[in-house]
Amino acid sequence: MTRRTWNLAIGIVLVVGVVWLWAGRIPAAEPAAGGSGLPPAPALGHPAPDIKLTTVTGETFALSSLRGKPVVLNFWATWCPPCRAELPELQAASQRYTGQLDIIGVNQAEPAEGVAAFAQQFGLTFPIPLDTNADTSRRYAVRSLPTTFFIDRNGIIRQIQSGPLTEATLAQALKKIFP
């Protein structure tokens, strides 16, 4: 190729490149992180599917009632060692962020009496809805325990973590929903 052909080729890439950069801008009406107009689903950028369950203390729990505050939705069970390891972190965070953040521990398919005794033993004070027949776990596509969803104040899922949380990974994930 001659110098002239090279210059022409580079010039065309530059001009077309800038035009496509401009045409491909993120629309101002659409937030960069998505979420608007999508159906509820257990996926990043989607609204979190609503949950209506009874808690271990016998109260009715609805996830939609927490809209306006960031939520940490944790799926766990008493027989799961990594869940037991991370529960103190979640309890500490629920105390640290009282009134600013809701931590919810959905128990997967265990009898209420056993869960209540466990919660008392570990000093858990955050709400523990009982997913008695694991329907909610299936709707949230929970394939391993623990799994944690970080939901922002608009009800959009911003982070999903499979596996146990440590204080550091919890702090990292909270940055996405709790400015």
Partner: protein
């Protein structure tokens, strides 16, 4: 979508496995090409594995620095097996620097090593993109096209497939260039042009992008800049090899 490979009672996460396969396949291809170009393939394996080790160590240390109040409470977490506790940006930078240090220390020919690395990197990116498509990561914008894929109830551009296709074309160009006698570094520059143009072209179809200014997408800018820079170097080399003819004045 298949986020988990179920083998009997064993549930293996698809995406991390696809990343491991991408890394292994990329290194294997690069080592093979390096041997073809007269460089010991073991050097490619060593540079890649030292780079990976540096990525992991620095990624975890960076996480420790960023979230040090949490690590002060539980210092043993710094050596824990938690796969989430990494900052991949600083880790990848350290990995590249260590690989570069290895190449410099063993006095390997830079241009030839980069030529060997180009097809491996592109092959790795293709596998990683296909893995992302399998699990529904890095999804595309909503679309009503015939070839749109449905992810969580929304039809979307299969943007991972677009990227893999662009990288496949770039890989074919690079392999073709390696088969012909050419100046060292040419294949690597062609690979950079291919990757840059693919990224520039595909990025607007991604549902989530980082913006620089006025909504312009960061990775699109990086892709275009990389492609233009590589084209410019190719031009300079071509022009230097074929200087313009000087017309002798007639007497």
């Amino acid at each position: 979508m298949s986020p988990v490979l179920q083998i009997g009672p064993l549930a293996l996460p698809t995406y991390p496995i696809s990343l491991l396969v991408a890394f292994w396949a990329g290194l294997a291809l690069s080592a093979r090409v390096a041997r073809h170009l007269g460089v010991d393939g073991d050097h490619i394996w060593n540079a890649g594995l030292y780079g990976l080790l540096a990525t992991i160590i620095v990624g975890r240390l960076a996480h420790g620095i960023e979230f040090w109040p949490a690590y002060i409470m539980q210092p043993l977490d710094i050596v824990g097996l938690n796969a989430q506790a990494f900052l991949w940006g600083p880790g990848a930078l350290a990995g590249l620097l260590v690989a570069a240090w290895y190449i410099h220390r063993h006095k390997l020919p830079w241009a030839t090593v980069l030529d060997a690395a180009a097809p491996g990197v592109l092959a790795g990116l293709i596998i990683a993109n296909l893995g992302a498509l399998l699990v529904g990561n890095d999804v595309g914008t909503p679309a009503t096209l015939l070839w749109a894929v449905e992810i969580w109830g929304v039809s979307r551009h299969p943007v991972q497939l677009y990227a893999a296709l662009g990288e496949l074309i770039a890989l074919a160009v690079v392999l073709h260039a390696l088969c012909k006698p050419s100046r060292p570094g040419t294949a690597a520059l062609l690979g950079l042009v291919g990757w840059g143009l693919t990224t520039w072209l595909v990025e607007p179809f991604r549902a989530e992008s980082s913006a620089v200014v006025t909504g312009i997408r960061l990775w699109q800018v990086i892709g275009l800049a990389a492609a233009l820079a590589a084209l410019w170097v190719l031009r300079r080399r071509a022009v230097a090899a074929d200087p313009p003819r000087v017309v002798e004045p007639s007497s």
